[in-house]
């Protein structure tokens, strides 16, 4: 067992220090060390998108990022979206649009959508599908997810 190192980063707006083995992924740290279990593990090798978080504003697959790489970084997880007891527009749009069924992929989709809408405030359907193609959903057939992202773009605008 390798020695643990101290990592300092900003997680959901709070400066946070955690101890981490070099082999631990950011996802493992978030879930097991920091108890932020909103980010989900679907494949643990970067193919399903359920663990998507924002790292310095960019979407990353937290199962492919090492915990130690979070040193000095700003991490945002699904737990950061709702503020002061209010859901974020993207969360509200997903609920109103019935864009989830089992809900396991939802946190990843929400974070990927947040990044997408920051880059493309008025995305085309193709933009949405292209940028969310890294996130697998097995329940919805994607129709209602894509429509909810469209609704969110309109609402925010």
């Amino acid at each position: 067992m390798a020695k643990k190192t101290v990592v300092s980063s900003t997680i959901n707006g709070s400066s946070t220090e955690f101890l981490c083995e070099p082999r631990q992924s950011l996802l493992e740290v978030l879930r097991d060390t920091l108890h932020l279990t909103g980010s989900k593990e679907g494949c643990n090798n970067g193919n399903c998108g359920a663990c998507t978080v924002l790292m310095d504003g960019k979407p990353v697959l937290s199962c492919l990022v090492l915990g130690v790489e979070a040193e000095g970084a700003k991490i945002e997880t699904v737990e950061s979206l709702a503020k002061n007891g209010q859901l974020a527009p993207v969360q509200q749009c997903f609920l109103e649009g019935a864009a989830l069924q089992c809900g396991i992929c939802t946190p990843g989709f929400l974070m990927a959508t947040k990044a997408l809408l920051e880059k493309f405030p008025q995305p085309t359907e193709h933009d949405i599908r292209f940028h969310l193609a890294n996130n697998l959903c097995r329940c919805t057939g994607y129709d209602k997810i894509v429509k909810s992202v469209q609704a969110c773009a309109t609402a925010v605008r």
Partner: protein
């Protein structure tokens, strides 16, 4: 059931689209799935799995693993109690031999597929458990293996179970075999029927093993306490069936097992059988701590249930006007390493959409060196429809008939007898075909090179089964609803809405909760398109119970007889006194009257029937063989759509899963029968870039067996897509594809001929 039928259509709650009750939990990351659990002093378990597709286990040495610092316990198949030939009923998965179920959790004597679990380790954390698992020494004697269903049926095939004998139409065979069952259904006189035919089409079809592909890997936490009580938190489609399987495998009374269902990240039939729960329990008993086990994605592919791969031959005879006169189907489905696959429902479904006076179906359940197959959304029906719906399409082409017209001409309707016996009550198949014909999609022209439009239909049962609910009325007039059906896709809401409608309150005034197995009456699993139907029926009866009690309390408040209290749309009145449900609840809370607590349990017998028809427009790229879906419409009879958004969601999700079967998904085995694509990268499920919007048309032909006319909708939408896609590709290319998946290399090769 007639007396339950409300017969009204001006619903206040049903047909609305309220936000689901568990919605905020799910979009904020607060919902608790099994892998999210952290218990005090919890240990972590890890399985080691067979590297061989078929081998004898000669020796297992766990000593080096036990010596790793941080390791707490190791278990093998020897830790299971001896299980005499015992059978447990597991819903869609059918009757399960417990020795086989235990043998699938941990292999005994032989491994039967690559990825078969052999032993498990518990340690202080996952990493230590993984390191220790690698130090378990298993000595194997590799045996020849077989994965293709027809090869496994050959007399000289490697035999998986030496003691297995074919059940040949009820007669046991006398020699070892991989064919566990041969079933047959017949009506009329097929030989005579084919003599009447003016045209006969016969084709062969093959389908690959396909996985349910839920995004949440299997996970379970077990805590076997010193008082003998076993508590399990798990991702399961049926907490009660999980309790039963676990208790029987461990040979302890069900009353000693408590199953707490966590949120479940998809199932589609694949989370009915237990894999981890009994193993985590054995580890927990050994180390005295709660033990969490979670699978990695490769373990999910290699060690949990795909749907059968199949070989099918379907022959149909018709008159020149397209009237079907005779049919014959020969189906061989693999069941993987243990008997009990999906051939039963496959054989029941192969001709279930049509009225065929003379027909015969032969079905074979065949063992091979793949993981044990499990239910997967309308298990067995998608394969069968891939065959039948293409033969129908071929008949339409040869007879120059419209593909909807030929289906309408032969469509099953009320009174049609299925080949396997049952006579249909009121069903809505014709209505789905008419809706398809009248759809914008069908009426719009499709032009352009390499493009084609295909149509196909599909059938699935809605099974009944036991469901229980209970509820109490709170002083603010809301109702807490406790149910036993685990919620995979939003059924808390569809159940709560049925209770709300019955009581005349809003959906938001019902607080639904899925409870553990000690807190609610027995409820059969979440599967078979049964929850909104059967648990919904229980919620309706619960509503009647609560209403009767509220009426009784009102009568006692007003000092009149119960008969004098009128109830309409949730308002209780007597003479000039009038109280809404909420007002009455508030008054009761301040009174000395008993609280209102209700309960119901149902066990509707038999099944109702769901039909779907899908239309697909495709474009085939002749240079790459890639098939692009230009437009897709799913049409289905929902009986009555309780929450239309989630009915549409089921239709869209089922359609895209079926499109996955059609286009890309398959278990790819190498010459050593090792799966070579056990990751989401290589096992290509559709992404949102692979599919267009899925248009939906909900048809509502009420189910006479349910007060609101509900038919379950979860499964039928996966049945038509592969055939619809094949029929569309045929129109685009002139080539009929009879093997799934129709992946780019296969399509490209066919186009080169």
């Amino acid at each position: 059931m007639e007396d339950l039928y409300l017969g009204k259509t001006n619903y206040k709650v049903i047909g609305q689209r309220p936000i689901r009750h568990d919605g905020a939990d799910k979009v904020t990351g607060k919902a608790i799935y099994t892998a999210d659990l952290q218990l005090p002093n919890m240990a972590h378990g890890k399985l080691i799995r067979s590297p061989h597709a078929h081998a004898k286990i000669k020796r297992i040495d766990v000593s080096q693993a036990l010596a790793v610092p941080g390791v707490l316990a190791v278990v093998t198949a020897d830790d299971f109690p001896d299980l005499a030939e015992k059978i447990a009923m597991m819903g869609e998965a059918g009757a399960v031999n417990l020795q086989h179920l235990a043998g699938n959790c941990l292999a005994k004597d032989k491994v039967l597929y690559k990825g078969h679990a052999v032993a498990a380790v518990a340690a202080i954390n996952t990493h230590v458990a993984e390191e220790a698992a690698k130090k378990i020494v298993v000595e194997y004697e590799p045996l020849p293996s077989v994965t293709w269903v027809l090869d496994a049926m050959k007399p000289d095939a490697p035999i998986l179970h030496d003691d297995l004998r074919t059940d040949e139409l009820g007669q046991k065979g006398d020699k070892p075999t991989n064919v566990s069952v041969h079933i047959a259904f017949e009506q009329g006189n097929p030989a005579e029927g084919f003599k009447q035919a003016e045209i006969i089409v016969e084709r062969e079809f093959r389908t690959a093993s396909v996985h349910q592909g839920y995004i949440e890997p299997h996970a379970a936490v077990a805590m076997w306490n010193e008082d003998g009580r076993l508590k399990i938190w798990t991702a399961t489609q049926g907490s009660f069936t999980c309790r039963q399987q676990t208790a029987e495998l461990l040979q302890i009374p069900v009353s000693q097992v408590l199953v707490v269902p966590c949120e479940i990240g998809g199932g589609f039939g694949g989370k009915i059988a237990v894999y981890l729960e009994p193993v985590a329990a054995l580890l927990s008993r050994k180390c005295g701590r709660p033990v969490k086990m979670t699978m990695q994605r490769a373990e999910v592919f290699e060690g949990t249930g795909p749907t059968p791969g199949s070989y099918m031959r379907v022959k149909l005879g018709a008159k020149k006007d397209g009237t079907l006169v005779a049919g014959e189907a020969w189906l061989a489905y693999d069941c993987g390493a243990f008997p009990g696959g999906m051939i039963g429902p496959g054989s029941m479904c192969v001709f279930s959409c049509y009225d065929i006076p003379h027909a015969r179906v032969d079905g074979y359940d065949v063992l091979n060196n793949k993981p044990k197959v499990q239910a997967y959304r309308a298990p067995g029906s998608t394969q069968a429809a891939f065959a039948t719906e293409q033969v129908i399409d071929e008949l339409a082409l040869q007879l120059k008939l419209d593909p909807i017209e030929i289906r309408l001409k032969n469509a099953a309707k009320e009174g049609t007898r299925r080949v396997d016996g049952p006579v249909y009550p009121r069903i809505g198949f014709i209505e789905t075909l008419e809706a398809a014909r009248n759809s914008e999609h069908w009426k719009s022209p499709l032009t352009g090179k390499n493009r084609g439009r295909g149509i196909a239909s599909g059938f699935w049962f809605n099974i009944g089964g036991a469901s229980s609910c209970s509820a109490s009325v709170m002083e603010d007039g809301t109702v807490s609803l406790i149910e036993g059906s685990t919620d995979i896709g939003g059924t808390r809401t569809s159940i709560a809405m049925q209770l709300a409608e019955t009581l005349g309150i809003t959906s938001d005034d019902v607080r639904p909760q899925v409870a553990d197995t000690d807190s609610v009456g027995y409820t059969f699993l979440t599967g078979g398109s049964r929850v909104t139907f059967a648990t919904g029926l229980a919620a309706y009866k619960l509503g009647l119970d609560l209403q009767a009690q509220m009426r009784d309390r009102a009568a006692r408040l007003w000092k009149c007889s119960v008969d004098e209290v009128q109830v309409e749309d949730g308002t209780y009145s007597y003479k000039d006194q009038k109280l809404t449900f909420k007002e009455l609840a508030a008054k009761l809370a301040q009174s000395a009257l008993e609280p209102v607590v209700g309960r119901s349990s149902v066990n509707p017998e038999g099944s109702t029937n769901g039909f779907a028809t899908h239309i697909a427009d495709v474009e085939v790229d002749p240079e790459t063989g890639k098939v692009t879906i230009l437009r897709y419409t799913a049409i289905q009879d929902a009986g009555k759509a309780i929450h239309p958004s989630y009915v549409e969601g089921q239709m869209q999700g089922g359609a895209v899963q079926g499109i996955g079967w059609a286009m890309n998904e398959e278990y790819f085995f190498d010459k050593n029968d090792q799966m070579r694509n056990a990751s989401f990268l290589d096992y290509r499920m559709p992404t949102c870039l692979d599919v267009p919007m899925i248009e939906t048309i909900i048809v509502e032909v009420p189910n006479p067996g349910h007060p609101f006319g509900v038919r379950g909708v979860g499964e039928a939408p996966i049945v038509p897509p592969p055939a619809a896609m094949a029929n569309a590709i045929q129109r685009a290319t002139g080539i009929r594809f009879t093997d799934l998946p129709m992946s780019p290399p296969k399509v490209w090769k066919a186009l080169q001929k």
